[in-house]
Each structure stands twice: as structure tokens, then as C-alpha cells.
Assembly symmetry: C2
Homo-oligomer: 154 residues x 2
DNA sequence: CCAACATGCGTGACGTGTCAACCATTCCCG
DNA sequence: CGGGAATGGTTGACACGTCACGCATGTTGG
């Protein structure tokens, strides 16, 4: 109708949107299964461990880690609690600031990610980048950047 | 090194992968917030309700609904339990098959989705498709289809 | 100085998702 | 028929995520 204030998506957009939703739910699930099966780590564990290996001494303030991951502090706190139970990371007090806390990579955690990384990269390559020609990677990158611009108006 | 068995991603691939992860976590969160705020529905509630409005009488067998959504039966069962508590759907026995069950859209549920749909579509358009030129939509669609091919080898 | 306010982080409640185990019913084959 | 296997669905345990709140420490203005 001519006066419709909330136009639905056109056919192609609907198709793309459905595919987006499918990939968005199945790809993380597939990555998670691989990590879990081969390394007993979740995708989230992996993300946390990656950040920790990237910084000096594997020792970061909770807030900084949350920011680097793009997570809410609360989420990270819960997750660190679970990872702490499994010995992958530890908490340390902060001398400078009595409120602060560090998350520290344990030897167990470092060993875990070093064991897990190659297989994970292989899976990402095989499921995503091996399916895409360079030009497609480029196009995908453009589209993602455009959407990111809408999501993070900064 | 020349003998590396597990090549990392090249720079552009890494960048795209990071953006993919960011969009993949923030976009659903943003859509969820909008729906929750404006209509008191989650993204998953919405998906379920959409499927129910698509079929005759808003009445579907649990397995069929799970298949249509691409969900595991267990996940759907849990979700239906929660939606049932809020009066959005109801369960009904199946006369033909003593094991079977139907999920039925209630008047409350129908009203909820009819109220929610326009705003949700507007949000999807504004966050995703308004950011993309038609050619970019097309390119995104190609890339998603290629990845889907890897995820669902059929 | 000290009373408000701000900051850094943790916790509890609850919704969401997966896996494994569990009924009950139905199917199927000997 | 009758008894095992398959099917349809639920449940429990646990990991993950968000929100609202709480609590301690730190900061600041009167």
C-alpha cells in the first residue's frame, strides 16, 4: 500500500537477512563444538585467553580486559569466575587501587590456548575464508564495516 | 615460515574476522534491546511468533516448529515453557499421536507480534540495510551463501 | 576535613542454549 | 501377537549473558 509507514524488506533483502541469521547462529556453534571437542575450551574462553596472551605478563585490569573484548564488566566477572574454577586464569589484587583487580593467565591457561589455537584457526579458515575469494572477503569487509558504523556511532 | 602447517589469517582477513565477531555480537544485542524495550519480547520470542503466524490456525507440531526455526527440540521445549508462562503460546495434545504436541499461538501472542513487528523491521532496516547499497547487499548475500554452503553440507 | 558523589568490581536473579538422560507412545519385525 | 528399537517430547544440569543492585574504595567540593 502506498501509505505504508513501515516498509518490509524486499525479496533479496529478506533472503540475505535469513541467511545472515542462519550463519550467525550456526557458525559460532560450529566453532564452539570444534574448540570444545579438541581443546575443552569454549569460544569465550578462547577470546579471553587470546587477550591475555596479547598483553605483558598475561596480566590485565578487569575493566581493560572487558573493553578489549567488548564485553560488559559483569559478563567478564562471571566468566572469570568460571575460568578460575578450572585453573585457566587467576585473580590478583591491585596495589595501586584498592578497588581494582587483575586477571592473570596461569600456566595452565597458556598451555591450553597454545594447544587450541592452531585447530581453531584451521576451522575458521576452512568454514569461512576458504569459501570466499579475495574479492568476496573485501566485499564482506565493506559491508561489515558499514553496519559496524551504524552500531557504534562514535 | 615455509613449513607452517597452520597459516594464520592475512591482515585483511584478520580485520574482517574481527569485524564479523563484533557485528555478530552487537547486532543481535541491539535488536534484542529494541524489541525488549518497545514490545517486551526477546528476539527468540519474536522468531517463534513469526513462525506461528505463518501457519494455519497458528498451530504447529513441536518438531515442525523446531525444524522451521532451525532449533533443537530441547531448546524449543524450554522456550515454549517460558512463553507459556507469559501467555504468548499454549501447548495442546495431539489426538493422532499420543506422543505429539502442538504449540498454539494465543490471542495475546498474536497481539504481541502484531504490535512488535513494525518497529523490529524498522530497526533491521536502519541498522543493516540502510547502511548498504544494493550492490553491497548482493555481495553480502553471496558471501553468506558461500559460508552457509560450508556449514550445511547437504 | 568530611560528606556526597564517582568508580571498579562482584553478586543474584533470571532468560537463553546445549548435552545427556529420560519417559511414553508408536513402529516393526520375528 | 510381543518385545525391542525408533520417535516425539520433556527435564535437569550446567554454561553463557544481561540487568539491577550492592559494596568497597577513591575523589572532590564546601
Amino acid at each position: 500500500m502506498a501509505t505504508d509507514q513501515t516498509p518490509w524488506l524486499d525479496d533479496r533483502q529478506q533472503q540475505v537477512w535469513r541467511d545472515w541469521l542462519r550463519v550467525g547462529s550456526r557458525l559460532p556453534a560450529a566453532l564452539n563444538r570444534q574448540l570444545q571437542r579438541d581443546s575443552d575450551l569454549s569460544l569465550q574462553d578462547f577470546d579471553v585467553l587470546v587477550q591475555l596472551t596479547d598483553v605483558d605478563e598475561g596480566r590485565v585490569r578487569v575493566s581493560a580486559l572487558a573493553a578489549a573484548l567488548g564485553w560488559e564488566r559483569s559478563r567478564l566477572s562471571h566468566h572469570v569466575t568460571r575460568m578460575e574454577r578450572r585453573g585457566l586464569v587467576a585473580r590478583e589484587e591491585c596495589d595501586d587501587d584498592g578497588r581494582g583487580a587483575f586477571v592473570v593467565l596461569t600456566p595452565t591457561g597458556r598451555a591450553a590456548i597454545e594447544r587450541a589455537a592452531p585447530g581453531h584457526v584451521r576451522t575458521v579458515r576452512s568454514l569461512v575464508f576458504d569459501a570466499l575469494a579475495p574479492a568476496e572477503v573485501e566485499a564482506l569487509g565493506e559491508a561489515l564495516a558499514a553496519v559496524l558504523g551504524r552500531l557504534e556511532p562514535s
